[in-house]
Amino acid sequence: MTRIPTTRIIVTALLLTIGIFIAWSLLGPWPTVILTLLSGLGWLIGLTRIRGAAQHASTGARPHSLMGYYATYVALWTGLPSFLFLLAWVFLQGPVIEQLLIASLPAASAGDLTPSQISLLISEIRNVAAGRIFSEPEPYVLEAAERYGRWVAISGQMKLAAIAAVALLGLSLSASRITMAFRARQGVERIVNVLLLVSSTLAILTTIGIVASLAFEAFRFFERVPVTEFLFGLSWEPQIAIREDQVASAGAFGAVPVFAGTILISGIAILFATLIGLPSAIYLSEFAGERQRNIIKPILEVLSGVPTIVYGFFAVLVISPAIRTFFGGTLGLETSPQSALAAGLVMGVMIVPFVSSLSDDAISAVPQAMRDGSIALGATRAETMLQVLLPAALPGIVGGMLLAVSRAIGETMIVVMAAGIIASLTINPLDSVTTVTVQIVTLLIGDTEFDNPKTLSAFGLGLFLFIFTLGLNVIALQIVQRYREQYE
């Protein structure tokens, strides 16, 4: 008997726990217990069958795969199909019972009620069935609630029977395939393949779902406000009249000032972060000794752990007054209390760690042979840095900068506190500007309903923010790709 490595035991236990946890949270306790027990049974049967086959075979003959693969194969075929079947059951159970319920109600099925009245009725029935009775319900509701409770109970029992049946079917089919020549190793491999594929598909589907919900709401907004006005309009005043007779403008939804503000602030931030972050990365990776590096690097990385609201305080209490004093007082320029410069600078401090630590990694990743080659030609360390290492590390550095930019664009708290909410179209960094994220926050705060252009415009902004960052990432990848080809 060979000793099984500890890591393998831990990994197996971890996978089993995760599997049981997922099943429990999706399906509830009883189905999980049944599935686990039946899978365990399948494991044992698989093992027993291949052992028996091996005993009856001629001496010296060995099964194609290791014994454990046969056991795992049967266990997987017992557990997985019934799990999927059950998942489908759980998702379909609600709608199916609802349809049955509607069909059994004369008032609802006759078409006298609107869809929203029907859903109101259904939730009342559900509440009554669950024992949450607020006023004396009508007799037909009570009757329906009783029917509903009965159906749910039947469904629950049938569910248990059904999974047991599917699991046993999987068990017997897979167990019957087990012979000495059966390639259980490849069989398990295929199942693992499918599981991995399902995982990545789920990740993609989630992304698609997020984009779709955003796009759907944005589409509703663009039904009310033309896309061209949104994209090219120079005025952003989303306040619209709540009552018909109120004195207010109809609202203007030109997003250019908002996006211009975002770009201005992010631009200041990335400029500042690069000015500070890149040289410190160069110092840390090539010039600093072991001791300096061990002190400076952790301190720099603390910056990324500071909550953004604290950065906001810093911007409002320290940077903004300082900028006002310097530009307003010393230079005599006109400054507004909230300025793009203050927000951009503080945001720049926030993303310094991104730029410096990713650039540091990129520079350190350049092969030592490049340094040696340059030094051996009689180049100084600074010449080596500028002419060999930086060009070679550029893809990584650009990648770090773009990551930092997308972080800056998505940042909200600092800008809310330091930059203001008035959308003015300007490139003067001392003016007050606003950003996309700030606008989304202000549009969605308070008593709002998702049926007027004001609130819906948040989704329009969100969609274009998404497209914007997506475009940035695509460009970043292109740049990285081009330089990488040159490097290899």
Partner: protein
């Protein structure tokens, strides 16, 4: 074309070598002379009292089993070990009558005089042209584009690579084959007009045909340069070198004409090593 470059480099060398502190007399024909060189990596001693004369316009091979200190000694000759923290050296290494570890000698300038080729070809991620032009540019050797073009062409010709790459000078140097890359970095070293070229197992990552080309090249370069080569292959040492030095455990065991070392070694250890009994 390289003559003019040579003049420029010579001027700098004069400044470099003119300081009085480190002057040492060496015998005629000796390019590099080492006396009682000891060297440490932190606490570990890597070289013990190595005294070796390296003649000009000759190929000197350093052989010995792994970890014997031959690469360490090679890297001491252009002070590449300076870049590794924790290294320490005592003794004397004299290049053209000047102790390179003494006084205010500038190691950066020294490395332009003593070029180096590494085990794995290490072209920069730049075009073939820029790889060669890198050294001349940082040393300000070319006054115009045409001079630089000339340096690049001559260097590539000397390295026997010109005919293969002359139509694609703008393509990345990293796109060449391993053997071509190694000749590219030799050309790169030649471009700054060094007097000594150090080679650290220059052919160990190459196939036999590319190795043959490199060995031919070493043979040609001997006319104009002092060459020191570290190699694991005794056949290679026998083929390319005129002098051979055998290192073992950080000590120089024996040095002599290559033919003598391989046919008639004086030391038992050398005999054992070249007959393949250890190493």
């Amino acid at each position: 074309m390289l003559d003019r470059v040579k003049e420029k480099m010579d001027d700098r060398k004069k400044v470099q070598m003119d300081h009085p502190t480190g002057r040492v007399e060496t015998s005629a024909g000796t390019k590099i002379q080492s006396r009682k060189v000891n060297m440490w990596y932190d606490q570990t001693q890597a070289l013990f009292d190595v005294s070796l004369d390296i003649p000009d316009r000759t190929v000197t091979a350093l052989i010995g089993p792994s970890g014997c200190g031959k690469s360490t000694f090679l890297r001491a000759l252009n002070r590449m070990n300076d870049t590794i923290p924790g290294t320490r050296l005592t003794g004397q290494i004299v290049l053209d009558g000047v102790d390179i570890y003494k006084g205010d000698l500038d190691p950066v300038q020294l490395r332009a005089q003593v070029g180096m080729v590494f085990q794995k070809p290490n072209p920069f991620p730049k075009s073939i042209y820029d790889n060669i032009a890198y050294g001349p540019r940082i040393h300000g050797l070319a006054t115009s584009k045409s001079v630089l073009d000339g340096i690049v062409e001559t260097s590539l010709q000397k390295a026997g690579l010109w005919d293969e790459v002359k139509d694609r000078l703008t393509e990345p140097g990293t796109g060449l084959s391993g053997g071509q890359q190694q000749r590219l970095v030799i050309a790169r070293a030649i471009a700054v007009s060094p007097e000594v070229i150090l080679m650290d197992e220059p052919a160990s990552a190459l196939d036999p045909i590319a190795t043959g080309r490199i060995e031919e090249l070493i043979h040609e370069l001997r006319e104009n340069y002092c060459i020191v080569i570290v190699t694991h292959s005794m056949q290679q040492a026998a083929r390319v070198s005129q002098r051979t030095a055998f290192f073992h455990l950080g000590k120089l065991i024996e040095v002599g004409d290559t033919a003598d070392i391989f046919t008639n070694p004086k030391e038992q250890k050398t005999q054992d090593y070249i007959s393949g009994r250890f190493g």
